[in-house]
């Protein structure tokens, strides 16, 4: 996602998650800006090492769940009590609240449904993943067993490439901004 395009980018490829994690910590400690890491699987501690802000998706999910809860309450009220009162099993149906226990399964399911679906769509929207979106992956090997790191180039290029090689990079390439 949106890294600044002012400086050229150096791409380095690694083949071990621990080496990547150590390299990120080392580079950031030396003042470099590691703008992105591509990995075939989540690396524990990488978010923190990259200094990423925590996602707000979980907060959104809570409110999506609330939306589902209110929607299902309204739905059961409208369909079962108000518009066409239905007496099932002799349960009190003059007030929504009295018949509420029988609606709990519906309320539970719709809460989960809303939280899960809206969270999924939010994730796609935020990440620009729509049908037909072009893959932003710079190297297909990062979906298998390699790790790619993008570092903003500041200062001498040779310093950074030497540093990356020392940290265990297998391949290094430069992308002009």
């Amino acid at each position: 996602m949106g890294h600044t395009k002012h400086n050229p980018i150096i791409r380095a490829i690694f083949n071990d998650d621990d080496i990547v994690l150590d390299a990120v910590k080392d580079l950031r400690a030396n003042g470099y800006n590691v703008s992105e890491v591509y990995s075939p699987f989540p690396i524990h501690g990488l978010d923190e090492a990259l200094g990423l802000k925590r996602t707000r998706l979980s907060t959104a999910a809570f409110f999506y769940g609330l939306v589902g809860l209110f929607f299902s309450s309204w739905l059961t009220y409208y369909t079962m009590i108000m518009d066409w009162p239905q007496n099932i099993g002799g349960k009190p149906n003059a007030m929504w609240f009295l018949n509420m226990p029988s609606f709990v399964p519906v309320m539970f399911e719709l809460t989960v449904f809303f939280a899960a679906h809206l969270m999924c769509w939010s994730y796609f929207a935020v990440n620009g993943l729509y049908p037909g979106a072009k893959a932003q992956n710079p190297d297909p090997r990062t979906t298998d067993d390699h790790f790619l790191m993008e570092v903003e180039l500041e200062g001498e290029e040779t310093d950074l490439t030497a540093k990356l090689q020392e940290l265990g990079a297998l391949e290094i390439s430069k992308i002009e901004a």
Binding site: H44, R54, F62, P85, N87, K91, P92, N93, P101, V104
Partner: protein, 473 residues
């Protein structure tokens, strides 16, 4: 190494003694004239008797009510509800005790039951704190869990908390068999003798299972199996410190697997025996899981408090916010699981509305309304809101708050499981209940801290101890 300081020891002994004294004072004061105030047992019985007589008139109309409902008119919501109340009142206060003297005796029994019920609720609550962690400890070996290796010693210590409550439950069971109290309806004399005034044909059919001898045999089997598991898991864990960690871990995995199978059966049967048999006429097929889930979640709350206490002493710095996060997740997840079972049990009974089942809930709605609904919010809504978010599970403050909610809530849950069947509407929270809690709390601290102090807090040769130290999420 954890040290059971003399200050903590004195505190625990003081709790036990104060608890015992409060309970004894409560026991001496317990009676119709003191705790019930102006509600003399005789007067109360008369009043209730009249109410029961009135209800039997209402009972005749019951059929009409249901007929109305069947015609799908049911635009008056109170109808079904009222019918349920009548059914319940009839069962708990009329029915077999329609004779006035028998009714007064029943009331007197309920009042006399209160000290023992108070002791029983507290014993069962503290049994749960140990038993939940004993099962969780076994689970760590069976599921080959790595992250928890650094907390195992605290779980081991907490698992020993089952011993004293089990003894207390066995003693209260024996006293019931000796007719010192009448908590267990099926222990009444002549319950299965045709023609005896106490004869109850429904319970008579169950006496091949619910009889004093088999009951005590089962209690002894539970005690033996559970205490054996707690002791063996602990013994092998201590041996691993000086020997081959992997070999001892494998041995413990075998022990834990055997225990898990044993517990799968006994968790249900013990819940039937110790709790469900109090309401002898009533039965629920998921009662075992329901009881277990309550025990499990309260044991996590206790484990969190214990872990934070140990950490606050500057010990166990290998237990960090990642481990707390997982414990918090377990507490969160199982409070939801408990709610799920609670609601599943309730909604099926509410929906089916079969009198013999619904009486159980009607009594709780009528006579225990406030504790009943407080308990549900304490056990579900509060913990869910308190530890829903990730950061809340990683700091002591919110965890402690949620743990206290859960502990109080599950004490109330056990209270509501036991009390309606033993003391009816003569319930309350006074010297007896408080004394019983303090008594078992003091013993809990004594047992758990002693075994915590008897061994290093960290496994030396556990095969996954490194994984636990570097656990991150």
């Amino acid at each position: 190494m954890f040290e059971f300081s003399s200050k903590a020891k004195q505190f625990a002994i003081a709790l036990t003694l104060v608890g015992a004294i409060l309970w004894l004072v409560g026991y001496a004061l317990n009676g119709p004239s003191s705790s019930e105030g102006d509600h003399g047992s005789e007067a109360h019985a008369t009043e209730m008797h009249e109410a029961a007589g009135h209800d039997s008139h209402a009972e005749d109309n019951h059929v009409d009510h249901s007929a109305h409902d069947d015609e799908a008119h049911g635009d008056y919501p109170g109808e079904a509800h009222a019918a349920m109340i009548e059914a319940s009142m009839d069962d708990s206060h009329g029915g077999i005790h329609s004779d006035h003297d028998a009714h007064a005796e029943h009331e007197a029994h309920q009042i006399a039951n209160r000290p023992w019920s108070a002791l029983y609720v507290a014993a069962f609550f503290f049994l749960g704190l140990g038993l939940g962690q004993l099962f969780f400890l076994g689970l760590q070996y069976v599921a080959q869990v790595g992250w928890s290796a650094g907390i195992l010693r605290i779980m081991e210590a907490q698992a020993f908390a089952i011993v004293i409550p089990l003894i207390a439950i066995a003693i209260i069971g024996l006293l019931g068999i000796g007719h010192v109290h009448h908590m267990f309806h099926w222990l009444l004399e002549g319950i299965d003798e045709v023609g005896h005034p106490n004869y109850d044909s429904l319970i008579a059919d169950k006496t091949s299972y619910l009889n004093p001898v088999f009951f005590m045999i089962r209690i002894v089997i539970y005690m033996t199996g559970w205490i054996w598991a707690a002791k063996t898991l602990r013994k092998n864990s201590l041996l691993s410190d000086s020997g081959d960690g992997l070999a001892m871990w494998k041995k413990n995995r075998g022990v834990a697997a055997a225990f898990t199978v044993f517990y799968a059966v006994t968790s249900s049967t013990s819940a039937w025996d110790m709790i469900m048999s109090i309401d002898t006429h009533w039965f629920s097929t998921l009662f075992g899981w329901y009881t277990f889930s309550g025990m499990f979640v309260s044991s996590f709350a206790a484990l969190i408090l214990l872990t934070l206490y140990v950490k606050s002493k500057g010990l166990a710095d290998w237990i960090n916010e990642n481990h707390l996060h997982d414990l918090g997740k377990f507490m969160f997840a199982f409070s939801v699981f408990w709610t799920y079972l609670w609601f599943s049990q309730f909604v099926l009974i509410w929906y089916a509305n079969i009198p013999e089942e619904v009486t159980y809930y009607m009594q709780r709605f009528d006579e225990y309304k406030v504790p009943f609904f407080t308990m549900v919010s304490l056990n579900f809504i509060f913990p869910v809101l308190a530890v829903l978010s990730r950061p809340a599970k990683r700091v002591p403050g919110t965890l402690i708050m949620a743990a206290v909610f859960v502990l109080v809530g599950h004490y109330m849950d056990h209270y509501i499981m036991v009390m309606p069947g033993t003391v009816g509407d003569h319930y309350g929270f006074g010297l007896l209940e408080l004394g019983a809690i303090l008594f078992f709390a003091g013993l809990f601290i004594m047992v758990v801290f002693r075994s915590l102090a008897s061994a290093p807090l960290l496994h030396k040769n556990h095969p996954m101890i490194t994984e636990s130290k570097y656990f991150q999420q």
